[in-house]
């Protein structure tokens, strides 16, 4: 793992023309004090995930810069921010999907229920089992609807057919797909419509009985009606799960978010309750983003 000295990376980021043209050299992005921008009064007794001084480098790119946030339990937290600001990277850090690729360097702590997920003693499967991932485009596994849902439970050692059948039914119901597919559980999953596939992927994620649902623009490939369905599901599911969603649509964030994290160029600019952030943003940058000044 080759790596530039982090200080060099900071200098580089500051020199980047994009920053200068957008903000005329203003010190908004000064990474050293970025934690100051996080609203201190986020009412969080016991965060489900807390991120402390997280720095992530991908192929020598300083992608996440000194991120400090808390993800609350049983609430929907939306991550917003312009393209390329590191939202996906942050999500992938949570369930350790980044470790897969070669040149990755991760500094700082991500605490899941108080336990550092990068601790060498921690079992990576255990981390992943606690989180269900929903990607931008639904990706059904190349097998039947039933086997898609049963995939996770099977991996985690459930073999009894009766038990699997019960799980499949339960989670297809939670994802609001049961009525539509109950008569064709053995047909290939890729025959479903895109909206149905996304709910299938949600059910598949729920079937490993996670505590957290991570969604990376999970509705952006869907038509408005299917997106609404998924949004309603999220609102229902937050009773039992903590939900973290990356979204590009501010309107969606307004509709469903309890908490908002606004990121810009690898940093968390501002984080707080949806009400605080939308109605009383503290940062100039947040105000500009919310008013559609840039996106």
């Amino acid at each position: 793992m080759r790596l530039l000295n982090p200080r060099d990376m900071l200098v580089r980021a500051k020199k980047s023309p994009k920053v200068r043209t957008l903000f005329g050299g203003a010190a908004v992005l000064e990474p050293e004090n970025s934690h100051l921008h996080v609203q201190k009064d986020m009412p969080m007794e016991k965060p489900h995930i807390s991120v402390r001084n997280l720095n992530v480098y991908l192929q020598q790119n300083h992608v996440l810069k000194n991120v400090n946030i808390d993800i609350p339990s049983n609430a929907i937290t939306c991550i917003i921010g312009p393209s390329g600001c590191g939202k996906t990277t942050l999500l992938k850090t949570f369930n350790r999907l980044l470790d897969q690729s070669l040149e990755v360097k991760i500094d700082g702590e991500v605490l899941l229920d108080g336990e550092n997920i990068h601790d060498p003693k921690v079992d990576i499967m255990h981390i992943r089992k606690k989180m269900g991932l929903l990607s931008q485009r639904p990706v059904p596994l190349p097998m039947s609807i039933f086997d898609n849902i049963a995939y996770g439970p099977r991996i985690h050692g459930i073999r009894r057919k009766k038990k699997l059948e019960r799980l499949v039914q339960k989670y297809l119901k939670s994802a609001g797909l049961w009525e539509e597919v109950k008569d064709r559980l053995n047909t290939p999953a890729n025959r479903l419509s895109i909206g149905q596939q996304q709910r299938l992927c949600l059910a598949r994620g729920l079937a490993v009985e996670p505590e957290i649902i991570l969604g990376d623009e999970a509705t952006s490939a869907l038509d408005p009606i299917s997106s609404k369905k998924i949004e309603e599901l999220f609102l229902k599911l937050k009773e039992e799960y903590s939900i973290v969603l990356v979204t590009h649509t501010l309107r969606q964030a307004k509709r469903i978010a309890d908490y908002i994290i606004f990121m810009y160029m690898g940093e968390v600019v501002e984080a707080g309750t949806a009400d605080q952030l939308f109605n009383n943003p503290q940062q100039e940058l947040t105000r500009e983003y919310l008013s559609g000044y840039f996106s």
Binding site: N95, R128, Q136, R137, V139, P142, G152, I155, H156, V208
Partner: protein, 279 residues
């Protein structure tokens, strides 16, 4: 002026298409015209009689069986080499990997090497290891020939497997081994197409088996015996001055063409299916 140009090009394209269709049709007619009268049930079920190599009696069972054994063996060996390669460059290596690119380039170059060169290469290997002309040597030569085809055509589809699919399986708790299973399953129609393509190429190739598998009038019963093949049956019988023997060559050509035709239709069917399956 523009219009005229367009007209000329349209005509040229039409002629070119007709030439292709015409030659296909002519080949079929020629083979059927001379091969069909020589065809009989015996051709498919009996080994040749009445003279070593180019007897007038009996059938072509030696060549049919030899070709089938050879192709099955070569395909298995080729898959045993190519599947690990494809899995390695698509599952283990990152998207942009120099090593993967070099592997792909090598497969492309190997793809373009004429089959006689593979035959000659396998022949030097045989001399080095003290192997005689045999079914095994033929299998090795042909598997060298088809491995690049297998790698390239499987790689084409494996590259299309979205990263999200792997991430999804990983986040459900899959291990690397499970990921490989999912990827192979996802590209299984592609694997089938690749196999059919390479069988089509392997079964029709004469140059790679000439020095390696050899030729014989009997059906091989072990890997160390020489094996006859359909392309060589055509080659040897066609070079005979006797009319009846030449006709047998056309019968062999008919059998070979029928097999290849069926294989390419199957390959088309499966690649259609693949494009429908895509996410």
């Amino acid at each position: 002026m523009r219009k005229l140009e367009e007209k000329i090009f349209k005509t040229l394209m039409r002629i070119a298409t007709l030439v292709i269709l015409g030659s296909l049709l002519l080949i079929f007619i020629a083979i059927i015209k001379r091969g069909l009268p020589a065809m009989s049930w015996d051709m498919l079920t009996k080994i040749p009689g009445g003279g070593f190599y180019i007897g007038k009696e009996g059938g072509l069972l030696n060549a049919i069986a030899g070709s089938v054994f050879l192709v099955i063996g070569a395909t298995i060996l080729g898959l045993a080499i190519s599947i690990p390669v494809v899995v390695y460059i698509n599952v283990y290596l990152p998207r942009k990997s120099l090593f993967a690119d070099i592997t792909r380039l090598s497969a492309d170059i190997l793809f373009g090497i004429p089959s006689i060169v593979y035959g000659a290469f396998a022949f030097t290997l045989m001399i080095y290891f003290g192997l005689k002309t045999s079914l095994l040597a033929g299998i090795i030569a042909v598997s060298l020939l088809i491995t690049p085809i297998l790698i390239r055509s499987m790689d084409e589809v494996a590259r299309l497997v979205p990263k999200d699919l792997k991430d999804a399986a990983l986040s459900l708790g899959a291990t690397r081994y499970e990921i490989i299973k999912v990827v192979l399953k996802q590209i299984s129609p592609g694997i089938t197409t690749a196999i059919l393509l390479s069988i089509g190429r392997a079964i029709g190739d004469a140059a790679s088996v000439l020095f390696t598998a050899g030729y014989t009038d009997s059906v091989p019963t072990s890997l160390s015996q020489p094996a006859a093949t359909l392309p060589l049956a055509i080659f040897f019988q066609l070079s005979s001055p006797i009319q009846e023997v030449q006709d047998r060559a056309y019968a062999a050509a008919l059998i070979l063409t029928a097999i290849v035709l069926v294989l390419s239709l199957l390959a088309r069917y499966y690649s259609r299916k693949l494009s429908k399956n895509k996410v």
